[in-house]
């Protein structure tokens, strides 16, 4: 029960933090903000990995559902971060954009490890 209360507190605090962070976003960035935060919601990938990797002791369906979840969440994560990166680079002044690209701006292509 204590863990539950701790997690509920975390949830509530994170909601407040999210509200504080987002309230001042300029309209220009609404679309990248959405696709970026959408990629973060792909964190469910962690849950999917745990489900998919829980071994064969749970019959057929658990690993199958787990793998479907891993696939969907990975699309969400990889697609989300990449497309956000693509959009945001357009918002930067041209010189800065090429600089970031040269520095390896798409490093998260390796996200799925």
């Amino acid at each position: 029960m204590e863990i539950l209360i701790l997690q509920i507190s975390l949830f509530v605090l994170a909601v407040f933090l999210g509200v504080e962070l987002i309230t001042k976003v300029p309209a220009t960035l609404h679309t990248p903000l959405m696709s970026g935060s959408n990629a973060i919601s792909g964190i469910t990938l962690v849950g999917a990995l745990l489900a998919a990797g829980s071994g064969d002791g749970n019959g057929l369906w658990v690993p199958v559902l787990g793998v479907i979840a891993v696939t969907l969440a990975t699309i969400n994560v990889v697609g989300g971060f990449l497309v956000t990166n693509r959009m945001l680079r357009m918002f930067q002044p041209r010189k800065a954009a090429t600089l970031t690209a040269a520095k390896g701006g798409v490093s998260h292509e390796s996200v799925p490890g």
Partner: protein, 464 residues
Amino acid sequence: MNLFLVDGFYLLAAMLFVGGIKGLTRPRTAVRGNQMAAIGMLVAVVVTLLDKSILSYEWILGGVVLGSLIGTVLATRIQMTAMPQMVALLNGFGGGASLCVAAASFLGLTGADSPQGLVTLVAICVTLLIGAVTLTGSAVAFAKLQELLPGRPLGFRGIRGFNLALFAAVLALAGSLVSGSGDSNTLILLTILALVLGVTLVIPIGGADMPVVIALLNSYSGLAAAAAGFIMGNSVLVVSGALVGASGIILTRIMCVAMNRSLSGVLFGSMGEAGGPVMDADEVYAGKVKSSSPEEVSMLLESARRVVIVPGFGLAMAQAQHAVRDLADSLERRGVEVIYGLHPVAGRMPGHMNVLLAEAEVPYDKMQPMEEVNALFEQTDVAIVIGANDVTNPMAREDKGSPIYGMPILNVDKARTVVVVKRSLSPGFAGLPNPLFARDNCLMLFGDGKKAIMELTAAVNETV
């Protein structure tokens, strides 16, 4: 791996997400913010994989490779005009993943002899419900945006009652699961009903309200992840899901304010909205609409000192963003000041127009939000409206009986001359005639957005 260490890395991931979202709130730091969040994701995934509760890697590898492949192809191939569909699709995948995690967790519980804690069961039901609604709701939103389904509200009489009944049934099934009297069949039925609910919730919502729906589904996908975190007892899921859920809610609110509509009005009010006596389009336009030519407009533009370009969804449809940029370049070479006036709900998702203009390399300080540009219209010589309709409709300001009364609009009619580039006089998503077109200072330039703008640019360039 040491449990303490695992939690430490999860905390690091959560901190990177917070820092990332903070970065995303400013143009200068946004790219870095996105990269920070991506690194956070990488940390969370690697730590999870190294954790010893993972037994079989083969399955996982397959899913990860397939998912990365699809994700990369989607992200690199998608056109900027199709961003709303893309985000809807990704939202749906996230919701679907949470749904599968919840189902797998339930089956895992019944398979092994692990104690079925009340909290876990509640969390499973909540994740199933939100995940399923996000999955099919996003699929419907995607289909509407991709024009696989008509954009107008669809549905049947009593769809609200149907949804309420469906929701009650879902709650009853969830109740039986939580009380321990349900089995995997109950779970399947619950999932199916929740999937249907996702469809029937979104299908009666019209195309113009899509920015709100996408923002809301974005929030749902975060909440589903947070709920999955409660199932797994995993705090990084709880924190990041809550962050995304909150950001989605805030964006939803911003969109609602920009349309002067309540959230419940968007979600439940679109069907059978009476809206008082509807103005007859023929009566509004009769004999007062003036059609113009690119040559005539180019003469106006040449003598102008300030031109405001107002893009709408039609710009995206016509893929005219580069053509618009060329026109602006031609004008700027002649010393004309060009700015872009952007309504918060122009297009099909929040900030849609900004992304398109950024793609055409329009500097972002020239994209002015509605409040700032409205102060400038009275000192503007020409306002060019491209594919925007309802967001410029003066009825919102003047006609108290109009369904859009009170919606903040771009006051293009205050400019000395308004040029409207449009295919025909057909109404916008709100289905209303636009008295702007009949104003004395309004000229219509009929035609496809891209072609009309290119002709206009050519006409401007000719008269050196």
